[in-house]
């Protein structure tokens, strides 16, 4: 399984994401935002956390217009997998690969702490390794994680079982306690918490490793 990890100016979780994929057994290629194509044979694109383009204009807005974004869009429309974490989630919503937007946290503060997540669905290659309703601990580190979407789309996300993770104790005001959502074909995942920061007991937890192992395992079978 081959994963491409994108780096924008201001990305700071790209290396951690690459390590998480590698640890799960994936081959990782690194991609620069100015690249206009993905390497041959990429199964999944990882859009990492950080502060792409300094969060100028809106978080993720400028990254969403970069040359690599067009290649990611094409990859997704072919049915390719894409995971966006934190700033990566913001980029995917700005690209309209996922619905909704991430607004300023309701409490206006940057939040950096481990939070409890509830696995809301196991019907995805990302979450199949967890049990439905399982509570896991994953860190968040964001200022703009307040997931906002119109009522109709929110009902659709819930009706189609596309909420991947919910917060146990909502830290940022997100509608429906949503921490992560899936695309219609369940192959694009966006989430604010950082599973790549908990893939080794030395990190203080390994609950995120399940996500990467599940993904790599499912793709090995495909």
């Amino acid at each position: 399984m081959k994963a491409a990890v994108v780096t924008f100016p201001g990305s700071n979780c790209d290396r951690d994401l690459a390590v998480a994929f590698e640890k799960a057994g994936a081959e990782v290629v690194r991609v620069w935002h100015k690249d206009s194509a993905l390497p041959q044979g990429v199964d999944i694109v990882g859009v990492p956390g950080g502060f792409s383009f300094g969060d100028y204009l809106r978080c993720g807005a400028i990254a969403a217009q970069s040359p690599i974004a067009a290649a990611i869009q094409a990859h997704a429309s072919r049915g390719g997998y894409v995971i966006g974490i934190c700033n990566g989630f913001q980029v995917l919503t700005e690209m309209r690969l996922l619905p909704g937007a991430l607004m300023r946290n309701a409490g206006l503060k940057f939040i950096c702490k481990p939070v409890e997540l509830v696995v809301a669905t196991t019907e995805s290659d990302y979450t199949a390794g967890y049990a439905k309703g399982q509570r896991i601990s994953v860190p968040v580190a964001h200022h703009d994680g307040n997931y906002t979407v119109d009522a109709e789309t929110l009902a659709r996300l819930q009706g189609e079982d596309r909420v991947a993770f919910r917060y146990g104790d909502n830290p940022n005001g997100s509608m429906g306690d949503i921490a992560g959502i899936l695309s219609e074909n369940r192959r694009v995942l966006g989430m604010m918490p950082h599973p790549e920061r908990v893939v080794d007991p030395a990190h203080g937890g390994a609950d995120g490793a399940v996500l990467f192992a599940s993904l790599v395992g499912k793709m090995a079978l495909a």
């Binding site: 204009l57 809106r58 807005a61 400028i62 217009q65 919503t93 700005e94 619905p99 909704g100 937007a101 607004m103 300023r104 946290n105 309701a106 206006l108 307040n146 906002t148 979407v149 119109d150 005001g173």
Partner: protein, 79 residues
């Protein structure tokens, strides 16, 4: 030709920053501020000379980049 783009959150989208500003104004003794909405203004210098064409182009810029129409609305003034 100059364009001025005003981007505001759509009606109904909770503006947590505007609300914090409203409360701070109350703390400072400014009474009767019933609501605050915070947005941004973007000024563009354009080479275009045709007003209608410039308006259309700036609207396209707003749709593609300057505003996130999921949560924001925009207005364009050309001068």
């Amino acid at each position: 030709m100059k364009a001025r783009v005003t981007v505001m959150l759509k009606t109904g989208v909770l503006d947590v920053q505007g609300e914090a500003v409203r409360r701070a104004l109350g703390t400072l003794g400014f009474e009767g501020v019933e609501a605050v909405r915070q947005g941004k203004v973007i000024e563009l210098d354009l080479a275009a000379t045709d007003k209608t064409a410039a308006e259309a182009e700036v609207a396209a810029m707003c749709e593609k980049l300057l505003a996130n129409t999921v949560i924001e609305k925009y207005s364009v003034e050309i001068a």
